[in-house]
């Protein structure tokens, strides 16, 4: 049994962590908060030079041809470091092109992604309470009108992969953001570091990417990448809290001595490790094209959001008054928590998806 990342993926994780520890983190995130840029261009350039956007792209399209495991560890480290770059959007979009794209579509977009010339993002929300199962935006004769909102990393992107209601049902479509009838604008969200946008299509040309089944298959994969991102963010939030609890003194004791504090830290760890087990299961299922993909992805999504929301909320709480200030880094985790919770369907929606998968397996 080898239920763990490959040595290659572990090496990638170590080097990514080392680079991002030095070049990202809360201080860099804070710089992005007040800027007008939608991402940190210097950091993004460095990441491209390191080959992270090329890692998952097959060699025939100018990439390195690494596995899903490498994408998972990159997503985790991006989440840990709060890096204000569109990396996780690009990883999810790459996965969509790999799973659902024709050779022609892959040849058109993947080389640019690998080289860093194309930033690709992913959108399914429509600014109302639509679930990932539905889309009001309808495609007819290759044209679409309507709104997708919010789309993380939309501003600055060249390609959007969106869900829309096509002739066969809800599925993925490619939108060239430079095309006619396409408008993008910034939209305010709780997350002040990772900026989102509103995409307005006015009889714009869109191109089908795979079919409804491919969309479902991709959605599971995207959820696994998002779970790793959430794990990274959770771990960083927990680490900061544990460090503070070792240091801060009240009533003559370091507050980490109080069970009120230490048991909450233990609960963070418990939730994190449960989520990590399911996410790792998901990484295996992605690589193995396993029948358990749906249930592994759903469990990873639900468990990682549970870990993240608890940890982000208690990170502020255990820092006390100082944690509620603008100057504290706690807010990054508190706000990002909501960004990740909303980005790909709520925890409740995924819990239902998990049970559907279990029901199907029981019936089989």
């Amino acid at each position: 049994m080898n239920f763990d990342f490959s040595d290659d993926a572990k090496t990638m994780r170590e080097s990514a962590r080392k680079f991002l520890d030095a070049n990202a983190g809360p201080a860099i995130a804070r710089k992005s908060m007040n800027g007008t840029a939608t991402y940190d261009a210097d950091l993004w350039k460095a990441v491209i030079d390191l080959g992270w956007t090329a890692a998952r792209v097959p060699e025939e399209f100018g990439g390195v041809g690494l596995t899903a495991e490498e994408s998972c560890v990159l997503a985790e480290e991006a989440g840990r470091s709060l890096a204000p770059i569109p990396l996780t959007s690009v990883l999810a979009a790459t996965e969509a092109l790999l799973r659902a794209g024709s050779k022609e579509q892959q040849a058109r977009w993947l080389p640019g992604i690998a080289e860093g010339k194309v930033i690709a993002c992913v959108g399914w929300g429509e600014g109302n309470a639509a679930s990932p199962s539905t889309a009001a935006l309808t495609v007819k004769d290759g044209k679409a009108s309507g709104v997708k909102l919010p789309i993380a990393d939309l501003l600055g992107a060249q390609l959007a992969i969106i869900t829309a209601n096509g002739p066969k049902g809800v599925q993925l479509y490619l939108v060239d953001l430079g095309g006619a009838g396409v408008k993008t604008e910034l939209v305010e969200t709780l997350d002040l570091v990772r900026r989102s946008g509103k995409l307005t299509l006015d009889n714009a040309a869109v191109e089908a990417l795979g079919d409804p089944d491919a969309y479902q298959d991709w959605l599971d994969r995207a959820a696994i990448l998002a779970a790793f991102e959430a794990l990274g963010t959770t771990a960083a939030s927990m680490d900061m809290t544990v460090a503070y609890a070792k240091d801060r003194v009240a009533f003559g004791q370091r507050i980490g001595r109080y069970q009120g504090v230490k048991h909450k830290c233990a609960d963070m760890y418990i939730k994190l490790e449960l989520a990590r087990a399911h996410a790792l299961h998901g990484a295996w299922a992605m690589g193995a094209d396993a029948g358990e993909l749906r249930q592994a992805a759903s469990a990873a999504r639900v468990a990682s959001l549970d870990a993240l929301s608890f940890t982000a909320e208690e990170t502020v709480q255990l820092h006390g008054g100082i944690g509620f200030t603008w100057e504290s880094d706690c807010q990054f985790y508190y706000r990002r928590n909501r960004q990740l919770a909303s980005a790909l369907g709520s925890s409740a929606w995924w819990a239902d998806r998990l049970v559907r998968a279990l029901e199907r397996r029981n019936a089989a």
Binding site: A129, L190, V249, G252, S346
Partner: protein
């Protein structure tokens, strides 16, 4: 059992209502000015003076202090009636609720003569200077020092979480006057002039984006010994008076915070894969649990008011209020954002109901900390209500300047 006023209560309510109807003027409708705004201060002062002249300030205070000498129910009734309108009252909450009662409990006759009436009539605004960056939950750990030379004290240090410091004329401040004594013993309370040289109030931006509080820096600030409140070294005892008043003031749900009705409205308009959100059992259970928390706290407050109405002391059940309210707000907001799926994070103003919940999510994180963290409040309930022993306090009897953290 009933929810009705007694005859004297009904009479007082009618009188207060009549006076308010006649005098409320432009505050009948919501006002435009925000907290901290200059207009807010001007309006607050005018309204406070009007109330003072009509005998609706210091309702429970002794007549000798310029109060009305009435019972707590009168005060509650007046506030209920006043809260039906939108008069600006927040500016005086700390001063009249906490600072001035401390002054008239522990101050000299000269201090009472000089300060109480001016505070009550709204001419002078007060703030409370206790918390420090190093001393939050552990308030007695403060470091700001006051050193005596003849009749003059010199204050140096930093306070934080000071509401309205930048709008205040005076403050009560706790300082360390003898660091060779154990931490609770070497403290002294003073009245400090917030306009004195060396006092600087800076707004403290919160993670929610607002700035309801200040940091206040004291550099070589002079205070005459006549402005000491209570004896040297008695500062902790005096501060406890103030804090007892705070515990009575803090607690209920912030007015206009979203509640179970907000969720019902929101859920009625949302479709899920399995039908309308309002038909989902998870949503219904959340509505129920939010109702139980919020209405339970309201009913608990009514239990306390009933005791006051009978002239008795309320029971300890009031102490559960803040810890229930703050976490319920946070959980409700989080749940509601989830219900909105992708748009849960969007703050662009297109969904005011959702935006209130998002604001509540940010605010509740602070509410769980301010005025006693969830953890401190649970300690208080366990220790003062249930009689469990306190946490170990290894520094309790050690001279302040010899304390080593364990």
């Amino acid at each position: 059992m009933d929810f009705n006023d007694t005859a004297p209560e009904a009479e007082y309510r009618a009188k207060a209502r009549a006076w308010l109807e006649a005098n409320i003027g432009e505050y009948r409708e919501p006002t435009e000015f925000g907290r901290g705004h200059a207009d807010f201060v001007r309006h607050s002062k005018i309204w406070q003076k009007k109330k003072y002249d009509a005998g609706y300030t210091g309702i429970t205070w002794p007549k000798s202090m310029g109060g009305q000498g009435l019972g707590p129910m009168n005060s509650i009734i007046y506030n209920q009636e006043e809260s039906r309108f939108h008069a600006p009252t927040g500016l005086y909450a700390i001063g009249l609720g906490m600072c001035i009662p401390t002054v008239f409990s522990h101050g000299t006759p000269e201090l009472i003569e000089r300060y109480v009436a001016k505070a009550l009539s709204g001419v002078e605004v007060w703030c409370q200077l206790f918390s420090e960056p190093i001393a939050g939950s552990d308030l007695a750990g403060i470091r700001t020092k006051a050193v005596k030379d003849g009749d003059t004290w010199t204050i140096d240090g930093q306070k934080v979480w000071t509401t309205n410091a930048h709008l205040s004329d005076f403050g009560i401040i706790v300082c360390r006057t003898d660091p060779s004594k154990p931490k609770h013993k070497g403290l002294t309370m003073f009245i400090v002039d917030m306009h004195a040289p060396g006092v600087e109030a800076r707004p403290l931006k919160q993670m929610s984006g607002g700035a309801d509080f200040n940091e206040v820096f004291f550099t070589n600030v002079k205070v005459h010994d006549s402005h000491r409140v209570g004896a040297e070294g008695d500062g902790w005892k005096v501060a406890l008076t103030t804090l007892m008043n705070e515990r009575l003031a803090v607690g209920g749900k912030p007015s206009h915070a979203p509640g179970y009705k907000t969720l019902m409205t929101l859920a009625a308009g949302i479709q899920t894969d399995n039908g309308p959100a309002i038909s989902q059992s998870t949503v219904r259970e959340r509505i129920a649990s939010t109702y139980i928390a919020d209405e339970g706290i309201k009913l608990t407050q009514m239990r306390a008011q009933s005791a006051l109405s009978r002239g008795e002391m309320p029971g300890p059940e009031q102490s559960i209020s803040k810890v229930v309210v703050a976490k319920t707000m946070q959980d409700l907001a989080s749940f509601a954002m989830d219900l909105n799926q992708s748009s849960g994070v969007v703050t662009d103003g297109s969904n005011p109901e959702l935006n209130r919940l998002q604001g509540s999510y940010m605010a509740s994180a602070g509410l769980r900390i301010a005025g006693g963290t969830d953890e401190i409040l649970r300690n208080i309930i366990a220790e003062r209500v249930l009689g469990l022993p306190g946490d170990m306090r290894p520094d309790k009897d050690t001279p302040y300047n010899e304390i080593k953290a364990m």
